[in-house]
């Protein structure tokens, strides 16, 4: 998966990759040339006492060094370009993909992991690509080139190369292979320890209330012991690595000296060549070592690439219709016909056999207990989910056959969890309609009973202070209270002036007075449009034109408030549990 990802997104940059390869090649060759020049100094300069030669060769060495650094830096430039561009493109791909998800796919993954996959995981892959371009090109060239050069200096000693390089490979390879699973285990251990600590701190009240301190402490000790055990093991292996590898290098050097000395004595090789050989051998061994360590970085990137791949290979289940239909009469009439919705693999469906019509200019209310499926139902209307059975129609045309743009224009949603985006209040309100004028924004705020607090609101200090519509909303909307957030979300839907308003439990954070005032103002503002309200409080919905009582995914009652009082026991139970008229007397 990693390779596929890299190949696909790296393809547009093949030219830069080639540049990197070429430049790295040049840089490495330059690096390889230097010991050879040094050998010349010794053999042809010192041995013959030719100081002039020494100076000249020195100058050449300087030139080569300059070439080396120039090409190396250029290679870094291209390498960074490719890696970062790849990261950018993969990020974009993930983002676009998630964009096309339906609420179901987002729910299936969960927003947090999607965020991680689009950010941290891409980062990992990007870093590996960068490192690969920087080092993994250099390593084979250095190794092979070094081998060639070394053998060139003294073919008779080449057997040293064939012995020491594989020896090193084997040793380092073994170490790395033993380390890899340990690293994974350590990651799990860390997650374990941190997880226990986190639960304790976040849920400290519960831990103490249930007198679970000792239980938690034991859990922690176990996790801590596991982590320490793994860390110690890893540490011991690591500690072994340095000395062992260094010993191999030293042994190689000693061997060169001894056997090389023999050959020098026999006149088979010159001293300078011997020094060069020694340096090349060391270069080769270092390169091999670096290469092996680079491989340690791969597994994590492989995991990340897989996670990214999972996102990229999931296509949104909401398919845009091939030939979108636009409803002839755009009044905002919503109809559900025998709608059913079930999560894949669930025992019972969340919704079953739901049929009703919400007429324009009227209010349809939905009430029911927790888990009765209310939110799922209303989420079907703006087509955040697709029903698994039956049809959802707006103005006579099924939502599956309407274009997203047409649905957006038709339905305004105020979701259960009020969510605001970072930006100014005006930015958030204009989310529904980017072309809304300030006057329109204030009109919506008035209806949502939010004028006062927005008008008096100031964020920032001194020069950066902003008031009213320009005041800033922080990420997640945390700098406004729950009730204020709800009202802003309501205003946002109002600005859009859709034909259908869907309020999913949108008045719950408001006190009774504000709730009543808001709904009264709404009646005026939304005249002619269809209003669908999901509510907990009976007082919110008593004046609805049609109330649907939902229980365990089915409609068990339908009618006006009075009708239901008379006919539906479930409804009566609900009303009874809230204050009824008789009590007052």
């Amino acid at each position: 998966m990693l390779w596929k990802l890299v190949r696909h997104y790296g393809r547009p940059y093949w030219r830069s990759v080639v540049a990197v390869l070429v430049l790295q090649l040049a840089a490495t060759l330059a690096t390889l040339y230097l010991p050879s020049l040094n050998a010349d100094i010794i053999d042809d300069g010192i041995a013959r006492g030719d100081t002039g030669y020494i100076w000249r060769t020195g100058a050449v060495m300087l030139g080569v060094a300059i070439v080396q650094v120039a090409t190396a830096i250029a290679a870094v430039w291209f390498g960074a370009r490719v890696a970062m561009a790849l990261g950018r493109d993969v990020r974009k791909a993930v983002y676009s993909q998630v964009d096309g998800f339906s609420a179901e796919e987002v729910g299936r993954f969960g927003a947090p992991t999607l965020i991680t996959r689009g950010t941290n995981d891409v980062q990992q892959v990007q870093m590996v690509v960068l490192m690969a371009l920087n080092f993994m090109v250099m390593v084979p060239i250095m190794s092979i080139g070094g081998i060639i050069m070394a053998i060139q200096e003294d073919p008779g000693l080449s057997w040293l190369v064939w012995v020491s390089v594989p020896l090193l490979l084997v040793i380092v390879g073994l170490l790395v292979r033993t380390l890899m699973p340990l690293f994974e285990r350590m990651q799990d251990n860390i997650d374990g320890v941190n997880g226990v600590m986190r639960e304790q701190i976040m849920g400290i009240r519960v831990v103490r209330a249930f007198v679970r301190e000792r239980h938690e402490a034991q859990r922690f000790t176990d996790a801590n012991a596991a982590l320490t055990d793994t860390s110690v093991r890893i540490g011991r292996l690591f500690v072994l690595m340095g000395p062992v590898i260094t010993m191999v290098l030293h042994l190689a050097t000693a061997a060169v000296l001894w056997f090389g000395g023999l050959r020098v004595d026999q006149g088979l090789v010159e001293v300078g060549a011997l020094t060069a050989f020694m340096q090349y051998l060391l270069q080769i061994l270092m390169a091999v070592m670096m290469g092996t360590f680079m491989f340690m970085m791969l597994p994590r990137a492989v995991v990340c690439a897989r996670r990214i791949g999972e996102v990229l290979s999931t296509s949104g289940s909401l398919r845009e219709p091939v030939a979108p239909r636009v409803p002839e009469r755009q009044e905002g009439r919503v109809e559900l016909r025998d709608v059913r919705f079930a999560y894949p693999g669930a025992e019972s469906p969340v919704l079953d056999g739901i049929s009703f019509i919400a007429e324009p200019g009227r209010t349809t209310a939905i009430i029911g207990s927790t888990g009765s499926g209310k939110s799922t139902l209303v989420n079907l209307i703006p087509r955040l989910y697709d029903a698994t059975g039956g049809e959802v129609l707006i103005d006579g045309v099924p939502v599956t056959e309407q274009a997203r743009a047409s649905l957006t224009a038709a339905v305004g949603l105020v979701p259960q969890k009020p969510f605001l985006f970072s930006g100014s209040v005006a930015d958030n309100l204009r989310f529904g309609n980017p072309d809304a004028t300030d006057a329109e924004l204030w009109a919506a705020l008035d209806t949502a009973q939010a004028t006062e607090f927005v008008r008096d609101r100031t964020t920032g200090e001194g020069e950066a202070a902003r008031t009213g519509l320009d005041s800033a909303i922080s990420q997640g909307g945390t700098n406004v209270s729950g009730g204020q957030r709800q009202r802003l979300c309501i205003a946002r839907a109002l600005v859009a002036r859709p034909r259908v308003y869907v309020f999913d439990d949108s008045f719950s954070a408001l006190d009774v007075t504000t709730d009543a005032r808001l709904r009264q103002a709404l009646t005026g503002y939304t005249r002619g449009a269809t209003t669908i309200i999901v509510a907990q409080r009976v007082s919110t919905i008593t004046d609805a034109d049609q109330i649907l009582v939902l229980d365990e995914g089915r409609i068990v009652g339908r009618g006006t408030h009075e009708e239901l009082l008379a006919t539906s026991e479930t409804y009566r139970e609900i009303v009874d549990s809230q204050i009824s008229a008789e009590e007052v007397a």
Binding site: I41, I54, W55, M61, M202, V206, T221, M247, I473, Q536
Partner: protein
């Protein structure tokens, strides 16, 4: 394509603009410096690529000293480590010199082989001078050879073996010290973690309430990891590298001070290079961080608010903003990587300069007999070995600085004031105050009679909350506590559970002062359902079982059925084995509440405290839960803090609280008839409707329940707590809101800013 290019241009311009204005490009979404600090807190150093700016400790040396003090018990081990390192360094540094001698043996032997045997060295040299080969004579005069001998292999072998021996010892010692040090560090970190864990359990609740949970979490996880890493890697490497550098410098000067100077000239040069490029790349990394934060923030919003983006059809806009920020990040990170990537080639180049210099000058000096070839070879090896420790010292000191900063934060936590230990523990430790209370225990069976005796309490002295409160709750009674928000109802619970200690008076359970009881005994008798539904990671089954760890599966399911958890569990694909995630898309807020109720149900305690728990559950389910609870409540005292008059209606006693005092006690009918505070409260629900027009009033003459917070939309307490609007007796304004000095966060949604996403 052109859109991309346009975005790229925009990205580049934006980046340049940031450069020009310096840090703090101002717009609503900009990242402030505090946020950067927060980011650093929440994210580990390697998560977002590039080096993070090392944390700075507030008081470096005291914290560093204290950190090393934690190694105190390991003193012998540490001494051993240092000794081993020193010996290893000595051998490591000495060996190349001997290798140089070996090289000389070879070269000398080579040269001497060309000479006629029988002559002495001087004779050969003089002979050369006589024949006009002054240069050759000069070179030979610096060498040690016996004419005609050839390479002295015995000597060569001896030298090589000595060198190998030295290296073997050196590496062996390095391995040993590494091993010993590793074990030591792991032990120290293990103890540190245990200390933290123990401390967390001894800290008073006020500590947690007055701080950001995320920050606390960071200290116990990220900071500990940081310290471990610093100790493991930085410490050992620093010592070794520092010693090696010193050793190498000494050897270099000993061999040839001229060459040493050349080699060392590289030092300030590379220092300058690293300094310039390093600081520039540090700035670029900060910019990269900022951009990463902005982009990630946008991604977070887009994905979390995905349904809104879809419903309002704003994909294009959000996508455009993403492209812009993505591009900015690309530019910033590219530049950061480029600059930092330059450092190594340049350092290497400086090294090469040195290498060239040494090769040339060394070669000259050998040719003129002032130095041996072996010395030059050794020198080259030294200069190569010189750079690595240099770089490591720089890198590791950063890590060490960061580690000390983390240690400081941990010590702050460990130094925090603890809650008073249980009296029974004090007695055991012999620290019991003879004039004070004695430890006591409850008589079994526990009846559940609670008595408040002139109790006073406040979170901060300036704002008194509860003054002179007295009440008695008989066993089996349901006590409903009502009142305008901020009246101290949650605090009452905090005091019964002894989460906070009272300032004056006494609270008694079955006649025993709760301060004489062990906390575990007290809390074991009280079952609590909190306002926020805190569940732990794990399955639904495990969470319910938390109420009583030894409960059987049947008991768990029975509790679930009694609290209507069972019903919705069957609509979930995995049933009871469904794992509850923190962002819990699979379980709604109301369902979480039910699970916490099931948990308390299973615990089967003598005293029940329901703290606005049922407000997140809709009214219909609440009725059913109440029925189940009612069955459970016989012979058990229950405190109910709720805002729904339906809950309160059926209570045996209603306590009306205002300003922390009980202003009225009685049953629902009694209080209504009395026409006092309760009556006022009750009526305000209906007089609120008077402002509306008659039509609305006729239709809903009194169907308003008390303001409730609905499913899960408890005001997020991650900011300044909103103040109640309006004069106190009338309950307008969003509820539950607390006036007064309630500590910052009672975390309805656990603050996760401090958690590293792994």
């Amino acid at each position: 394509m052109s859109a991309d290019r346009a975005n790229r241009k925009r990205g580049r311009r934006a980046l340049r603009a940031t450069d020009r204005r310096g840090q703090g490009a101002d717009d609503a979404g900009a990242i402030t410096d505090e946020e950067i600090a927060e980011l650093q807190d929440s994210v580990g150093p390697d998560e977002w690529g590039g080096t993070s700016a090392p944390r700075r400790a507030k008081a470096f040396w005291p914290s560093a000293k204290r950190l090393f003090a934690t190694f105190g018990p390991e003193r012998t081990g540490m001494t051993l480590v240092v000794v081993l390192v020193v010996v290893a360094v000595v051998f490591n540094v000495w060996a190349p010199a001997i290798l140089g001698d070996a090289m000389n043996v070879i070269f000398g032997g080579l040269v001497s082989a060309q000479m006629p045997a029988g002559m002495t060295a001087e004779q050969v040299i003089d002979g050369l001078r006589a024949t006009g080969q002054a240069q050759a004579a000069d070179m030979l005069s610096g060498m040690d050879f016996v004419p005609g001998q050839g390479i002295d292999f015995a000597e060569l072998a001896r030298l090589i073996l000595i060198v190998l021996g030295m290296y073997v010892v050196a590496q062996l010692f390095m391995w040993l010290q590494g091993r010993v040090l590793n074990d030591i560090v792991m032990r120290v970190v293990y103890r540190l973690r245990q200390d933290i864990e123990a401390k967390v359990n001894r800290l008073p609740l006020s500590y947690f309430d007055t701080r950001q949970r995320g920050d606390l979490l960071s200290r116990t996880t990220n900071d500990v990891d940081n310290v471990q890493q610093a100790m493991q890697q930085a410490f050992a490497t620093l010592v070794y590298s520092a010693l090696t550098i010193i050793g190498i410098v000494i050897m270099m000067f000993w061999l040839s001070w001229q060459l040493a100077l050349i080699a060392l000239v590289a030092l300030p040069l590379s220092g300058v290079v690293v300094g310039i490029i390093g600081s520039k790349s540090q700035k670029l990394f900060t910019a990269q961080w900022k951009n990463t934060g902005r982009l990630n923030g946008h991604i977070e919003e887009s994905f979390t608010g995905h349904e809104l983006v879809t419903a309002f059809g704003r994909q294009q806009d959000m996508g455009a903003r993403f492209d812009e920020r993505n591009e900015e990040l690309y530019e910033a990170s590219f530049r950061a990587q480029f600059y930092s990537g330059m450092i190594m080639p340049i350092m290497q180049w400086v090294n090469y300069l040195g290498y060239v210099g040494i090769a040339v000058v060394g070669g000259l000096r050998v040719a003129t007999g002032q130095m041996t070839l072996g010395a030059v070879t050794a020198f080259i090896q030294y200069s190569r070995e010189f750079n690595q420790p240099l770089g490591q010292v720089a890198g590791m000191s950063n890590m060490l600085i960061s580690g000390v900063a983390s240690a400081e934060r941990i010590f702050e936590l460990l130094d925090a004031e603890e809650q008073d230990p249980d009296l029974a523990d004090q007695e055991r430790a012999g620290t019991l105050d003879p004039a004070g209370r004695r430890p006591a225990d409850l008589a079994r069976p526990v009846l559940g009679r609670i008595e408040f005796d002139h109790v006073s309490f406040s979170y901060t002295p300036e704002k008194p909350l509860i003054t002179d409160l007295s009440l008695t709750a008989e066993p089996g009674h349901t006590i409903a506590i009502v009142g305008p928000t901020g009246a101290g109802k949650t605090t009452l619970v905090n005091l019964i559970m002894r989460f906070y200690e009272i300032d004056a008076g006494a609270i008694r359970l079955d006649g025993v002062d709760i301060r004489s009881l062990q906390r575990s005994v007290l809390r074991g008798q009280v079952g609590m359902v909190l306002q926020d539904a805190v569940l732990f990671g794990g399955t639904i089954r495990e969470n319910i079982r938390y109420g009583r760890l030894d409960a059987t599966d049947e008991e768990v399911v029975a509790a679930a059925r009694a609290t209507f958890v069972d019903r919705f569990v069957h609509t979930l694909p995995d049933g009871y084995d469904t794992v509850i995630e923190d962002e819990g898309a699979n379980v709604s807020a109301g369902e979480r509440q039910l699970i916490t109720i099931a948990r308390a149900f299973l615990a089967d305690p003598a005293l029940l405290i329901l703290d606005e728990a049922t407000s997140s559950v809709d009214t219909r389910t609440e009725v059913l839960v109440q029925e189940a609870m009612a069955a459970l409540r016989t012979d058990r005292t229950s405190f109910v803090i709720a805002h729904r008059l339906s809950t309160i209606r059926d209570a045996d006693v209603i306590l009306v609280m205002e300003h922390g005092d009980i202003v009225e006690q009685g049953s629902h009918d009694q209080l209504l008839a009395a026409g006092g505070a309760y009556h006022r409260l009750y009526m305000s629900q209906f007089t609120a409707g008077v402002d509306l027009d008659a039509e609305t009033e006729a239709l809903s003459p009194g169907t308003g329940a008390l303001p409730v917070s609905g499913e899960g939309t408890v005001p997020a307490g991650t900011g300044p707590v909103p103040v109640v609007t309006g004069p106190v007796p009338v309950v307008t304004g969003p509820v539950p809101v607390v006036t007064g000095p309630v500590p910052v966060v009672t975390d309805p949604e656990p603050d996760e800013s401090g958690i590293r996403d792994r």
